[in-house]
Symmetry: C2
Subunit: 151 residues, 2 copies
């Protein structure tokens, strides 16, 4: 559905939100190591998010990436749009050139509702919601609980 890259983006933002108590700014290396994401690749992704204003960054010593006023209220759909674009919600399941409810493919009816549901969920969920889940111990950013228990 969404790309691996987009997953990295969301996890990166949530990480920054979770860790803002410890220190406001976090270097790319720290984030990448904690989340087990290739450093330079994550760097590029976070830069995209900075350009979109979803997070912020400062260069130089003691610089790093950090959340801003907007971050926690950012709906996930905005992150998806920034990384993957909204085109992913407009593709036909059977790979025809485009999805159309006027000229539907034989799987359209079955999956169009499901796709809208996913879209709506991405619209409604905000970064803050994910952060809350993790703070409550209901979910985890990394597969290894190392990080989860460390919080």
């Amino acid at each position: 559905m969404i790309s691996k890259t987009c997953g990295y983006a969301i996890r990166g933002i949530v990480f920054l939100s979770l860790e803002q108590n410890k220190s406001t700014k976090h270097g790319i290396l720290e984030i990448a190591e904690d989340l087990q994401i290739p450093q330079h690749f994550l760097g590029k992704i976070l830069q995209d998010l900075v350009r979109r204003g979803i997070i912020s960054s400062i260069k130089g010593p003691h610089g790093g990436f950090f959340v801003n006023a907007k971050t926690k209220d950012t709906p996930l759909i905005e992150v998806v749009e920034a990384i993957d674009g909204l085109g992913i919600f407009k593709k036909c399941f059977l790979g025809r050139e485009e999805c159309s409810s006027i000229n539907p493919c034989p799987l359209h009816d079955e999956f169009d509702g499901c796709r809208s549901a996913i879209f709506k969920t991405f619209e409604n969920l905000k970064i803050a919601d994910l952060v809350t889940k993790i703070e409550n111990g209901d979910s985890y950013l990394s597969l290894s609980n190392d990080f989860a228990t460390e919080i």
Copy 2:
């Protein structure tokens, strides 16, 4: 969700099922042109399906691909398994190494149900169901209605 290749496979099989009245066998060129799928690529896909026994083929003049006794009762999940494998239903939405409900990611709860729904739909839907839809004029294999109206 499912790959473009898998969509080609499903459309190919349904095409053969629809057209079996006209003539039982259909050459790869005819199928590819009608469905607007790259000829040789579709050839490989259909060959995979033949190996799985989902459809059949005969070489030589007047040969081609054709449906067999099993075809119409084949559940879509079998096609998906043949082409994409079932791994696509076991991936974490956020791109973590694996999906786990014991150690869920913050999107797991939101989307796990949706994913199961998709899986169940693929289990329940058979090729014959898609054929029926098209025969009833409720859906179309190609975007251009040329083919749909031609039936």
